[in-house]
Symmetry: C2
Subunit: 135 residues, 2 copies
DNA sequence: CTTCCGGTTTAGACTGTGTCTAAAAACTGA
DNA sequence: TCAGTTTTTAGACACAGTCTAAACCGGAAG
């Protein structure tokens, strides 16, 4: 029924026990498709009652990404962002503003994937279109 | 003639005045195709005489990448690496070991680039094949 | 109800990467 | 030689992320 019920089911399906902190964090992540860093998320949930510790935000985001609920992206300047859309899709990064947006047009690779190094398996292919503001 | 002369010319063509520190750093970068972080490079030149300060390594790498002599990459875990190969080419990243290698097979995108956000111009398209060690 | 016990959260110290500042040093040209 | 500019430098600083050890919580057992 409610958004909270949807989220509770989502966590249960991923085998993640429900806690109030996880519910709050998931609520913020899944309300809309977004690209949030840990500290941005901390700021958002921090404006709610009661506060959630920084360590919990970091731990929870790592847990969610390990369980496949969000996608961890590193695009620039050493700040990880978490993408609530786990489907593979390319991104557009503005190197001047730091803004990260989705590319909805599905950029595909031409031809087959390269042979991977021995002993490794494909995780995913990241495609990032880097742009700059025109003068 | 010598490698040092090649490098001196390369810097001159890029409009970068030559200094002993820049020569040493460039020498380490361009001797072979490599992906080095600032601190890895600092370690390498630090084993030579006389030491170069950390600030100079950071400043020089930023200068080189602004002038197009190297390519700055951010692939994971908030550590920048500098690629002495400035041609666009895809990379393979092992998320378990942190190893970053070149993909020599030229992965191309199928179809046209997406429409860029208004007021922006394309810088480049990064393609990163992420792999993991098999169990 | 009380006790126990595993998983969870928490504050705060700590690490590593990168930036900034102000002074020293090294060039440059007159 | 001397002034002006660029470059280098040490060290302080900012920030993202990790780690640790203790507090907390909720359910099961007694
Ligand atoms: Mn996305
Ligand atoms: Mn490369
Ligand atoms: Zn909610
Ligand atoms: Zn050399």
């Amino acid at each position: 029924m409610t958004l909270h019920h949807d989220i509770a089911r989502k966590l249960a399906e991923a085998g993640i026990p429900l806690t109030s902190q996880r519910l709050l964090i998931a609520c913020e992540l899944f309300a809309e498709h977004c690209h949030l860093s840990a500290d941005e998320l901390l700021l958002r949930v921090g404006s709610l009652t009661p506060d959630i510790s920084r360590a919990t935000v970091y731990n929870t985001l790592k847990l969610f990404s390990q369980k496949g609920l969000v996608q961890e992206l590193v695009v620039d300047n050493g700040k990880r962002v978490y993408d609530s859309n786990t489907a593979p899709h390319p991104h557009c990064y503005n190197a001047d503003t730091g803004e990260l947006t989705d590319v909805h047009q599905p950029l595909q690779l031409a031809g087959p994937l390269p042979e991977l190094p021995p002993g490794t398996a494909l995780e995913r292919v990241d495609i990032i279109v880097r742009v700059r503001n025109v003068a």
